[in-house]
Assembly symmetry: C2
Homo-oligomer: 389 residues x 2
């Protein structure tokens, strides 16, 4: 299955997703260094890129210790030789069979639980050769999504029950402080991160007091990990993911500089609407994703490279409508066929729309990465007919 | 590449996309009958499902005469034995090579143009054996996206130039009246459709007066085609697509009944947040798509089957947060693990998030369909490693 790789980023077919390899490597090195300085393990989340190549970079070539958000991702990375994989969605009965397969084939596969249902599902599912489930309690430190409330009695009861289950090796607690995306500013993020660490440490003490030890204390989101709190070294591992690409959202939160954003969507001008002071590009919501369009920041939910005055005002399936904050568009500056580069608002959402990433170093395209997608292992290949083409 | 097909819709892995085959067949038959009664050709758009099976149904088994929105779709359907394919994005130089391949391999492949750039691109690109480009003028009848303004002089100039080009067979005019999605009510849609037909007929007369004949007069959107105007028979072909599934958006516009909606997303309860009067399901924006979340209608942008009082209040990547319009959620009614079915707001956007559709007749799952995706032929297969798994 050959695919012609274009020589430079100016020659790519549009729309397409571009990965700036030099920037990705810098982002990854910075996060690895930060964890290393803190003395904590780095267990990167891979869901923002979903590629073996990206996981290889994030793990410093070890292919060990990652977080995934679907059983498809877990299987894809296991097939790619990755080990020590944590599945970040709380376990439920309908996903037990998929988790059993992974727990049996990998040396280390970790699951999360946040309910009686979850603990019971684990207790009633055996693994081969008497292997125990490696399980962590998912706790809610304020994000108000999954996880049992960090300061609740329920957290203690559930952890204790898992700890006492014969076929479960209770490892510790895990939180995703996703509400860090509502905090703006470096000092504010560090203060916020400090409180999250405190919450986990308090829970760990409460658990220890009931005889339940936590070998793993895991937290992490790109905002808190980009500027870690000074007590973050008291955790055992951090699992940010979005730092891989960074994006407009993280830039606006103060987590990165515009020079750190390592992905773009390439698009071309398709049509002029002089009567409307607009032009159309061949990137619609299929190419850009929709996440963030509801909360359009002042600069627009995505940003055009070089042309600060351009605004994406509307996304159809395969078309984006562009206008200007100036009074008049200079259509000669944007002839039909001109290539433009867009920094996405939410890189992970945008990346997930693309079956192929074009990877470049400087202007030169060096290769392609192919992400996995979907939820159910083996369900994500393309139709036979297309493969035979 | 085997994949276990679950026996019933209650056994599917979640999240997943369900296609109700009986309803699809009914929707398709109704649209085919409507076109037939009007005496116009039906050239269905395939972008809302992107499957060979769906295209087969829409074309009544002939596999002839479809509209596609990407060159990937065009190639996918051509590989699947489809003929007479119209590529609905106005032609630009960067897509000429892809279009040449399709024009050379298919008996009938049609392109649209809406600019000097487009006409010049066609004039300078030769096809094999002296074959001519089959080209239509894309006109804007008020949608204000691509297309030259229907009542403009530019429309005449461009059509004339294409008509006079030696290597172009100018076929006629094509519009997508997407602004029908802003019109609510059956009578209003019929009146709106009437005006669109009038606009195309007026343009055709103006063209005829300059010696340019239109053999094709094409319009179509699901709202206008679900209740066609009484002059729609004066067109030569209609190209709606979204009628295949219908969805909440089209229901709210009065284009269909709730019994016509032929797709759902299956999801399961994953976590209870009693403290917040909410529960989490395993369908986030990766499974539901984001389109429509910005314009939440009163009933929420998606709808839970059987449970009118449930509201999706927030979508994370892999999680949806659900609450109730009642004062209190009855958590016993929604135990962790319970399966729920969601009618999407915009079916095409939701479908495009899924690598696999589970097709069912009644409750029984009868098989799976695998859609294509992406833009660039041969770029959409999954990584080798995963295929070998």
């Amino acid at each position: 299955m050959s695919f012609d790789v274009p020589p430079t980023v100016n020659d790519v077919p549009t729309p397409c997703f571009l990965v700036d390899l030099d920037k990705v490597k810098r982002n990854v090195a910075r996060m690895r260094d930060a964890c290393s300085s803190l003395g904590v393990e780095h267990r990167p989340h891979v869901r923002c890129h979903r590629t073996l190549e990206g996981g290889e970079l994030q793990t410093g070539g070890t292919r060990r210790k990652i977080v995934v958000s679907t059983l498809d991702e877990a299987t894809f990375f296991a097939d790619g030789g990755f080990e020590d994989i944590l599945f970040a969605i709380p376990i439920t009965q309908s996903k037990i069979r998929g988790c059993q397969k992974l727990a049996n084939r990998l040396n280390e596969f970790h699951v999360l639980f946040d309910s009686q249902h979850g603990v019971q599902s684990l207790k009633h599912a055996t693994l081969k050769d008497g292997k125990k489930w490696s399980a962590l309690l998912k706790v809610d430190t304020g994000h108000a999504r999954t996880g049992v409330l960090c300061d609740s009695e329920e957290a203690i009861h559930l952890a204790k029950e898992a700890h006492e289950a014969e076929n479960v090796d209770f490892k510790g607690v895990y939180t995703h402080e996703g509400h860090s995306y509502f905090i703006k500013g470096v000092q504010e993020q560090m203060q916020f991160g400090h409180e999250i660490v405190d919450k986990l440490l308090t829970l760990a003490s409460r658990l220890r007091a009931t005889g339940v030890d936590c070998r793993i204390l895991a937290a992490g989101s790109t905002p808190t990990c980009s500027h870690p709190a000074e007590n973050a070294g008291l955790l055992t591992e951090l699992h940010p993911g979005a730092y891989f690409f960074y994006d407009q959202e993280l830039l606006l939160l103060g987590c990165c500089t515009s020079a750190d954003i390592a992905c773009r969507v390439a698009t071309r001008v398709v049509s002029h609407k002089k009567s409307h002071n607009e032009f159309l590009v061949d990137a619609g919501y299929m190419a850009l994703g929709h996440d963030g369009i509801a909360q359009q920041p002042p600069g627009g939910f995505c940003k055009f490279q070089e042309y600060d005055h351009l605004r994406m005002v509307c996304l159809d399936q395969e078309m984006g409508k562009v206008t200007t904050t100036n009074s008049k568009l200079d259509f000669d500056e944007f002839p039909i066929g001109k290539i433009l580069f867009i920094y996405p608002y939410h890189a992970g959402s945008t990346a997930s729309q693309h079956p192929l990433y074009f990877v470049h170093s400087g202007e030169r395209v060096t290769g392609t990465w192919r992400p996995t997608r979907g939820w159910h292992p083996r369900s994500n290949h393309v139709p036979e007919k297309h493969l035979c083409a």
